[in-house]
């Protein structure tokens, strides 16, 4: 294992998003504040509580999760595509680093960004609406797990993508709709039964449900199912992104 090379690549990936924190950290905090103000405080007058939890508080785990997973996936996917387009990738591919080390370093970089964003939004919720956290360790652990999952997914998609348009399509047509339909702003019990059944196949629903359980102690379905789901997705996406890197498809000719 080339440990110095591995940690250098992690340092680069983390340094990259911190260098442009106005694009990578601040927007999530602003949009969450707006969601809390606009959705929370206005809708709270109509929907006072869901599962015994005030509405503004109910939506916060979903907002944390949305920030976590979009940032984690954006970090790896955009970094990989950018390196391809700016001819930086050869610097890494010609260095004595294995595909496993490169993939893992990228995934960790994305995981750090997802986790930093998730935790900052969590702190924001705690500051603005005094959000209680039932299980802080489990919450942080779950944020890290989900960050890893989506970071690995982002790396997989970043390797496949040739243009920014393709990445934007992934964000706009899949991640954002699945996040909104994953129960950020509502309990799936408020949906008709057929819609509830469909929601159960939405992986992001499980991420939100799991985090809502660790923060608020309430969930729409068994939290253990959500944790298992997150764990399985982590394994699948990690294996897929490493295998793709190893094969060299779309990054080597």
């Amino acid at each position: 294992m080339n440990w110095i090379g591995f940690f250098t690549l992690i340092r680069r990936e983390v340094g990259r998003f911190f260098a442009v924190y106005r694009q990578t950290v601040i927007p999530g905090l602003i949009s969450t504040t707006l969601y809390i103000l606009v959705f929370g405080f206005t809708l709270q007058q109509r929907i006072s509580e869901i599962a015994g939890v005030p509405y503004t508080l109910f939506i916060l785990p979903g907002l944390i999760m949305m920030n976590t997973l979009t940032n984690a996936s954006a970090n790896t996917s955009s970094s990989m595509l950018q390196m391809k387009l700016l001819q930086q990738l050869p610097d890494i591919l010609t260095a004595p680093l294995s595909s496993f080390e490169i993939s893992l370093a990228y995934i960790i970089g994305g995981t750090v960004r997802g986790t930093v964003n998730g935790i900052l939004v969590m702190i924001l919720g705690w500051v603005i609406i005094d959000m209680p956290i039932q299980s802080p360790f489990m919450t942080v652990g779950f944020i890290i797990l989900v960050s890893w999952t989506f970071s690995a997914m982002g790396l997989f998609l970043g390797q496949l993508a040739d243009t920014w348009d393709q990445l934007a399509m992934m964000q706009n047509f899949f991640l954002t709709p699945l996040s909104f339909l994953g129960g950020i702003f509502y309990s799936i019990h408020m949906l008709p039964e057929w819609a509830q059944n469909i929601s159960f196949f939405n992986p992001i629903y499980h991420m939100i449900n799991g985090l809502r359980f660790t923060i608020l102690g309430v969930s729409d379905s068994a939290p253990s199912t959500s944790f298992i789901m997150a764990f399985i997705m982590t394994l699948i996406f990690t294996a897929m992104s490493i295998a793709l890197m190893h094969s060299g498809k779309k990054i080597k000719l």
């Binding site: 440990w3 690549l9 004595p96």
Partner: protein, 312 residues
Amino acid sequence: MAIPAIQIKDLVKTYDKDVALRGVDISIREGQFFGLLGPNGAGKTTTINILTGLVRKDSGTTEIFGRDTIRDFRYTRSQIGISAQEISLDWFFSVERLLSFQAGYYGISKKRAQPRIELLLKKLGLVEKRKAKLRQLSGGMKRRYQLAKALIHDPNILILDEPTAGVDVELRHELWEYLGQMHKEGKTILLTTHYIEEAELLCDKVAIIDKGKIITEGSPEELTRQLGKAGITIQLSGWKEEINTLLNEFHYTHSNGRLHFTVRDPEEDMPRIIKILSQEGCHIQHVDTEKSSLEDVFLNLTGKGIDETGEK
């Protein structure tokens, strides 16, 4: 026999249906300055990209100091420094930080890399640009940065893909001087270029590649002697028809007492021609020679100039 620094055997690569390499064989001994000369699309970049792990080969073997570049990639890649033809860009980090990252990829800690970074920034005239971002550098500065990046881990082998493409004459000469120094320090250098002058000036061995195949190799002097066509022009004060018979072993043209010979080796042929003419009592007014170049060799072998054949 010493193990070659770079050994490529029967390398074949096809992109979709386009055959890029048709069995390339190259052997470069340690300390050699080797030029891979050929037009655009001949297979130069593909060859070095396979060697450095950027392109997957279809078949053949590639070895660095006797070790396979795929099986022993950690060793082989640590021996090579690459200056790619395409200049990489970065929006986020300074020149100094990028060099520190590059050293890190090769297993060199930040602390250990710092003196080397200082040395290279100084040697390549980048000290004042150490805090600049890559996009703020001029084209020439970017080329120097590419070279600093290739040298950051002090590799034994330097692979330079068209290192002076698109740079001005002054910088080209500076880079040539620097590469010459690297060679004197004992580095093995593989240079791909389509600048004939560059190969003639720097390389002690040259291989000419065309359409994915090495068509000849040797020292520039050997190649020009064997395959080039030099010229000798002699102006006589008078002309005798019988000279035609005496000179029939040479290829020449004649017009108004001016003889133009096309020869392989002017140093060998000129004394013989002058001797024949003198023995016949011809008065020689003026002698001029044109040296043969690798361009002539290329022309002779392929029937076209090196810049005429831009493929796909």
